[in-house]
């Protein structure tokens, strides 16, 4: 390339104009997005923060600036149990979806050889995502119930003598449903990272005498880190913010923070619900901030 001639003042001005123009056009194009996010994301959050300082009577709420809701929240031992439960669900679900998701993605990316099959099997994994979560939860009932498939099969095999009670409406069923619903969120980003790995790196590893396990540990896993992180963010935030899976799959016998909020809502205790929501939001944001220190998502798209 020949050396560039110095820019004339006119070119500079023109560039400036284009730059400004570009900003204006960018804003115009981004404005619908901004309107939706301001109106239905930022404003609601601001509203929740405001209402969290309000007071409530049995049937109405009134504007105020008091810390009663927070005092009550932090003063109650229930809060700590429920937060502990929330983290427990998030951690266990995360570990299980990671192992499952990674293995499935590994199979698709490295063991299936034709692109057609890769795409086909990948779609098989993603299709349930486009169906109803509620139906997918309901569909566990015939499996896990007292007289369900799992119990009757185990009894007929002679593994157990009487039905297991902890299959449905327990921590077990809650986590099972979480794994069932959210493993996809691990599979997709990890698969995406794996497909970008240059296959010659794997050959190089093998040529250098690395065993399959060493290749996995020293080449594949480090290169999948961004995918793993994105999946982790999805799964942990979805589980931490959930209330319906816990309510439905535990038959209202277990609680997490989301259920605490939804219970307050059903009692019309909006200020108290808002305070809990603010604390939940802060918790989720802290978790994400910690995770984001490990990966720059914008680079990975």
């Amino acid at each position: 390339m020949p050396p560039r001639p110095p820019l004339s003042i006119f070119t500079k001005m023109k560039r400036q104009a284009v730059l400004q123009n570009r900003n204006v056009l960018g804003w115009l194009q981004a404005s619908p997005l901004a309107v939706v996010l301001l109106g239905f994301l930022v404003a609601p959050i601001v509203m929740i923060v405001i209402v969290s300082f309000w007071g409530a009577t049995e049937y109405s709420i009134y504007p105020a600036f008091q810390f009663d809701n927070y005092e009550f929240l932090f003063g109650s031992s229930v809060t700590y149990t429920v937060f502990f439960n929330t983290f427990k669900y998030a951690l266990i679900t995360w570990a299980m979806t990671l192992v499952l998701g990674f293995t499935v993605a590994y199979f698709l990316a490295f063991e299936v050889r034709s692109l057609k099959w890769q795409i086909g099997l990948f779609l098989v994994c993603t299709i349930p995502f486009w169906t109803s979560n509620i139906i997918r939860m309901i569909s566990w009932i015939p499996f896990l119930g007292r007289n369900g498939l799992a119990n009757s099969t185990l009894i007929s095999w002679g593994v157990i003598d009487e039905p297991l009670e902890w299959l449905l409406f327990s921590d077990f069923s809650v986590i099972l449903a979480f794994v069932h619903l959210y493993t996809l969120f691990m599979v997709v980003p990890i698969f995406n990272s794996m497909m970008r790995i240059d296959r010659s790196l794997l050959e190089a590893a093998r040529d250098c005498g690395a065993s399959g396990f060493q290749t996995l540990r020293n080449v594949i896993i480090p290169l999948c880190k961004p995918g793993i992180m994105i999946g982790t963010i999805f799964v942990t935030t979805l589980v931490m913010g959930d209330f319906i899976t816990v309510r439905f799959m535990s038959g209202s016998q277990r609680a997490n923070v989301g259920r605490l909020i939804s219970n307050d809502i059903s009692l019309l205790q909006y200020p108290s619900a808002s305070a809990t929501a603010v604390v939940l939001l802060c918790t989720v944001l802290i978790v994400i901030a910690l995770l984001l220190r490990l990966v720059d998502i914008r680079k990975e798209l």
């Binding site: 698709l108 979560n133 989720v284």
Partner: protein, 278 residues
């Protein structure tokens, strides 16, 4: 082709089990929805009949299933169209790295990770305080967009990051206006991906529960209706409904895949653009 290693068969079996885990339950309720009139929520089958499907189509006490289906369908279409338009515009905007784009990007990501119940609660509170009634087509519509648009935008990011700018430059060099470049060059190239965005928009809206819970108002959408049924319906009619709505989802997904396939085939056939490059 080299021989399959043992790990292939182990992993293939694992994958098979995973698919069984994904689809097994839904297939089970599909079978159970054909229970005889005396049948219960679990096996064994007590005869085989269409009793519970017939139940769905009759005038019933359990609620307004068909009304809620119509609302969910209409809302899904509204959300779908809006999601496609906003995502494409947003995707174009983000290519320009305009001032403030970083903030907007992080807001979009935040929209994905913020618990749905917060959106539901916040939007409900705002409508309450302004004195507007919550309605599925206003507050419910907006709340769902905060879930569908980020997915649409992520797809657009992926599309535009792989988009070859020289097509646009070529169009511009030949004297096309910005609008012509967009409609005749950019849009046809990204069209199959737009179908993907539309699929996300429709299905995520059609199945959304948490964000519509406090924002749908007095007329339920289908997921809300189904959830209401879980607390007071103890017959396989709920399985029949689940089977039907899942089949409907599969049908919608199938239509989108067909459309993607057709549009990519048309692209392959009608134009030899880029063939010389290979």
């Amino acid at each position: 082709m080299e021989k399959r290693s043992r790990s292939f068969y182990v992993l293939a079996a694992f994958f098979g089990l995973f698919v069984l885990f994904l689809y097994g339950p839904i297939v089970t309720i599909g079978i159970l929805s054909f229970q005889g009139p005396q049948g219960g929520l679990t096996f064994p089958m007590n005869g085989v009949s269409l009793h519970w499907f017939r139940d769905l189509f009759q005038e019933q006490a359990v609620g307004d299933i068909w009304g809620s289906f119509r609302r969910s369908f209409a809302l899904g279409l509204m959300v779908m169209v809006t999601t496609v338009v906003v995502s494409v515009l947003g995707g174009l905007a983000f290519r320009k790295r305009f001032a403030g784009s970083t903030v907007l990007f992080y807001l979009t990501i935040a929209s994905l990770v913020i618990p749905s119940i917060l959106i539901s609660l916040g939007v409900g509170l705002i409508f309450n305080q302004i004195g507007l009634p919550v309605h599925w087509a206003s507050s419910g519509f907006g709340s769902q967009l905060t879930w569908t648009i980020p997915f649409g935008l992520l797809i657009m990011f992926a599309v535009f990051n792989r988009f070859d700018k020289s097509y646009e430059e070529a169009a511009r060099d030949q004297g096309a206006t910005a609008w012509q470049t967009f409609t005749y060059v950019v849009l046809p190239i990204i069209a199959p991906s737009l179908l993907g965005v539309a699929l996300f928009g429709f299905t995520l809206s059609y199945d959304e529960f948490a964000r519509t819970l406090l924002t749908a108002g007095s007329y339920n959408t289908l997921p809300l209706e189904i959830f209401g049924m879980t607390t007071n319906v103890t017959t396989p009619v709920i399985f029949a409904l689940g089977t039907l709505t899942t089949l409907f989802s599969f049908f919608v997904i199938g239509v989108f895949f067909l459309a993607v396939w057709l549009s990519s085939r048309r692209q392959d056939k009608t134009s030899d653009a880029g063939k010389g490059m290979v």
